[in-house]
Amino acid sequence: MTTYFLHDSTVLLKRSLRHVLRSPDTIITTVVTPIAMMLLFVYVFGSAIQIGGGSYVNYLLPGILLVTVASGIAYTAFRLFTDVSGGIFERLQSMPITRSAVLWSHVLTSVVANVTSLALVVLVALAMGFRSGAGVLAWLAVLGILVLFTLALTWLAVIPGLTAKSVDGVSGFSYPLIFLPFISSAFVPTDGMPGPVRWFAEHQPVTSIVDTLRNLFAEQPVGTEGWVALAWCGGLVLLAHGLAMRTFRSVTRNRAPH
């Protein structure tokens, strides 16, 4: 059964990677929003933001990377939705394959596409003056956290991908995720925020993840914040995966015909 799962997932992964390769515009439109935000904040608002020393682009990049992932997973939901609405999903489900391989291929494709987008955004940040002395291990830790964050949001994106009735419904769900970093330490320090906003900002996952990435880039110890970030990412992956699989099972059992 495991070998079938690996075989089926690999075959389907090749397929959906082809989709990404044949529409590279999906990568471009994914990175447009975060890059525009980065330009806007660094060159327009940045001079007015007090971050307590250091360059603003260095401060900003971790949050921008999370925005990139939030923007990228909209395409994961879209690709899955296209499979469901076009009947490919049902065709695959009626074939003698491991059924969940269909989801895993989309999830892994999402990771590949998002890591590509993240690399592009980092290149643009380097051109804008981002510098880090972080070593290989710290970069690997950054990559690990970003992949976990991508997995969490991707499994969440699977739910609208499976259940949405229209394309608008699919793309709409990612907007709140893109704006979540605004109420966190991603763009400005949380110190100056009024009480309840500050409380929310300091207790939502983005702040701990952003702070951890920032410390890794700045060669600072990540401390307990790092474990909090890891716990958020791991917990969100498990929760989102559980919810997505529950949706998957109920969809494959009880969906009425179109």
Binding site: H7, S23, E90, R91, Q93, P96, R253, A256
Partner: protein, 255 residues
């Protein structure tokens, strides 16, 4: 594995919430026949097909495909049956050939490329094989769709309204394909709301109305159900359409 009946449905029920779609459907499809399941929109054809192909769970009753129970041996059922749904389920981003290779790889066939080329030739798609399926006409997509269902030669093929939305010429092409399949021993269950299609293709016909099979048999047998023709100026055999409307009542036709 061959059994005398390819598909056996007994007392099948399915509701969506309060709405009962199948209310005790019985059907027996002999191996190697083309069997038409005829019914109006909403009669429950697609629901029955989805239960057969393990895409949907039944509320009650039993269904076996090639001797395997859909509830207890769904994996075996999926190895025996191939579904062509109402809308041509091809991957538009992939080429025609890549679509066929994909299915062949998933079915773990030895020579996916060879299987794909063979089917492209058989369905007159060799020239179009290297083009993305998005560029295909409706008829070509349907041919590719059916070709994908034939990868690995499953013994039972289910075609859910295979000619819906096709122009007359493409429809004739699909009919020709279906007739050839039956000649090779494949069991074909075909749903349709086009009476002419059932009349043209099917060895046996079942009429599904409001969730039950209300008539079943060969076209000749169904004709006998119809009241004897009265003497008129021109003697006219009742068409299947007449039979259908007489059996289900005219309210069905006016919906």
């Amino acid at each position: 594995m061959t059994t005398a009946t390819a598909i056996e449905i007994a007392g099948l029920t399915k509701s969506y919430g309060d709405h009962a779609v199948l209310r005790g459907m019985d059907l027996s499809v002999p191996t190697g026949t083309i069997y038409a399941l005829l019914g109006s929109n909403g009669a429950g054809k697609t629901t029955a097909v989805r239960i057969l192909s393990t895409l949907l769970e039944a509320d009650g009753g039993s269904v076996t495909v090639a001797g395997h129970d859909v509830a207890t041996e769904p994996a075996k059922v999926r190895e025996s049956i191939s579904l062509t749904g109402q809308f041509a389920a091809v991957d538009e981003v992939l080429t025609g050939r890549e679509n066929l290779v994909l299915v062949a790889e998933l079915r773990r066939l030895n020579d996916p490329g060879g299987v794909a080329d063979g089917l492209l030739a058989r369905f007159a798609l060799t020239d179009a094989g290297g083009r993305r399926a998005a560029t295909y006409s409706g008829g070509m997509r349907r041919r590719l769709d059916i070709a994908m269902s034939l990868v690995g030669t499953p013994p039972v093929l289910v075609l859910d309204e295979p000619t819906t939305g096709l122009d007359p010429q493409s429809r004739l092409e699909v009919w020709k394909i279906v007739k050839e399949l039956a000649g090779q021993g494949t069991t074909v269950l075909l749903t349709t709301q086009h009476l002419e299609e059932a009349e043209q293709l099917a060895d046996r016909i079942a009429i599904l109305h409001e969730g039950r099979i209300i008539a079943e048999g060969s076209l000749a047998a169904l004709r006998q159900l119809f009241p004897p023709a009265e003497v008129e100026y021109v003697e006219k055999q009742p068409t299947l359409e007449d039979i259908f409307l007489a059996i289900v009542g005219h309210d069905a036709a006016q919906r």
